[in-house]
Symmetry: C2
Subunit: 331 residues, 2 copies
């Protein structure tokens, strides 16, 4: 028996290309002592992947050339030689871009799929949801009544941030691209305001929706959106630096926020964080988001691309803002 | 009797020009009830002045056209109709760019000049010293053993930051321009390391002096120096955003920090502050810096330009990094 895996064979220049990867067919190995075999069903496509593919300094080492592309995934255990894991268990973990994983149970999470689809553990109940939750509360220190601005509001992290923000009593303004996503942000995520960044300049629209300025900005995109918000900060504002997807594929000098000196007059801060630091606080997060899910208050939209060979295309969908909801690959 | 004053008559484009100001001779007024008359001796020249001269949003409204240029100053009271102030008292306050001030005592500070020259209250014992102290401790949260990097290290705020940093047990690396200033930073301020930003690229020099990265960066300049430090942050690093003098006279789009996304992987923060928020905590500051002054541990170098008419030239000295020590104008 054999399975397929996707290895990184070249570091991308600009957008990831099909040729940056090789799809290999390899013979299945059996799990050794302490190991499990997993049939992978879905891969999570995340903005940080472009960083992992580069040689840039980051919170994890780059994916090595010839190595299986790093990816969070879910699947079902097909064979187990490890305590506490049984055939049939649904699990999540850093299983890589392949349709079969064999290895240790280190970092594996068993999933309760009795109440939510398994894929939600790659979205609202996974690192995506944790990123939203800890970014908003630990870094953003969101208070009821705050004006919260969220970029990539129709995206995976952004959509959860919007919903958590409203639940916390903030006035939430979502920024998204195009009428469909904006309608989703307004009608489904129930944001107080929405800005279509493709429809015109962001600054004036933001001034209208947040005439007194912005308390918390959850930034997933960087670039012009970040600059527009920087120019409209309230005193003691907090910018949660989650990502900068507009800059990840830059081939020249990245576009730094020209208005960063506004942080001085506003006595404001811009702080970065990485969700892996919060994995040990999963329970706290699960209680909060679990309550909202049970109350039917969480919408977790998915955008599923079929087939491991379409992994590079799914990545490009993400970086070109074509995805609508959490980008997944079904393998 | 008459006195001279300098009014702002045009908003500068790029570097402030002589023609942006008018030197006027006006008749002296006598102080009314609750007012004093002050013979001004020295004006403080501060980087933020360029911001006050523009229409940019800041922590104070712009100086209006036709108004006396805003300036911190010291002087001696020549006549008083106010309780608690007597002829002969030496005071500091926002007295403006003129050689005589008549007005209320609001915000006036009486100075003890028995142990230090009066001009020190425009420097180590004034807003300059407070900026260094509260920026380093409240925003930078400097700890003993931290690697602290200071830009414009031979300048007014920078030189005090270096000295406070060493006193607090940090390893201090100062960045300055040219051999004279660098010798001052190394030999007089006794920094552990110094980088001449004019002598070559900053990045490699910083990597050599701070191989494990930077814990606290006290930024007065922005631009390439900020980018070089951003690429070398230790985990949980703090960037104290005090100023960005390299960008204040930019006529096009300011140069944003292209490496700002390094804040994510480093879980680092960049925070702005304005010293006026700390004026009420003067005592705490005075005790700390007073102790160091008494112990002979503070060097407060001055760079004095003579004559109110040379105020615009003094401003340009500052923005062109020609000053060596705190820039003052003797009027």
């Amino acid at each position: 028996m054999s399975h397929q895996r996707l290895t990184l064979v070249r570091r991308p220049t600009g957008l990831p290309a099909n040729e940056d990867f090789a799809l290999e067919t390899v013979a299945d190995a059996a799990p050794s002592d302490g190991e499990v075999a997993i049939e992978i069903t879905h891969l999570s496509i995340d903005p940080a992947m472009r960083v992992w593919m580069s040689e840039a300094r980051s919170y994890w080492p780059p994916v090595g050339l010839g190595e299986v592309m790093r990816a969070q995934a879910i699947g079902t255990i097909t064979a187990s030689n490890a305590d506490g894991f049984r055939k049939g268990d649904v699990v999540s973990g850093m299983l890589g871009a392949q349709n079969r994983f064999v290895g240790s149970t280190n970092g594996l999470q068993k999933l309760d799929v009795s109440r939510v689809p398994a894929t939600w553990y790659l979205h609202a109940l996974g690192a995506t949801g944790m990123t939203a939750y800890f970014g908003l509360h630990d870094i953003g220190k969101l208070k009821a009544g705050d004006t919260l601005v969220v970029s990539a509001a129709a995206g995976a992290v952004g959509s959860i941030v919007c919903q958590l923000g409203r639940e916390h009593g903030a006035r939430v303004i979502g920024i998204a691209g195009g009428p469909d996503k904006c309608a989703f942000v307004k009608n489904d995520l129930k944001c107080d305001g929405v800005i279509d960044y493709r429809a015109g300049p962001i600054g004036p629209a933001l001034s209208e929706l947040a005439p007194k300025g912005v308390d918390v900005y959850f930034d997933n995109v960087g670039g012009e959106v970040l600059d527009a918000v920087l120019a409209r900060l309230k005193r003691h504002a907090r910018i949660v630096l989650c990502g900068g997807i507009s800059q990840y594929n830059a081939t020249g000098r990245a576009l730094g926020p020209a208005n960063y000196l506004s942080l001085i007059a506003a006595r404001a801060s811009m702080q970065g964080f990485v969700v892996i630091d919060y994995f040990e606080r999963y329970k706290e997060f699960a209680v909060a988001i679990g309550g909202m899910i049970a109350a039917g208050k969480i919408i977790a939209r998915e955008d599923i691309v079929d087939g491991l060979g379409n992994f590079p295309a799914a990545l490009r969908r993400l970086y070109q803002s074509q995805n609508f909801g959490k980008q997944l690959v079904k393998v």
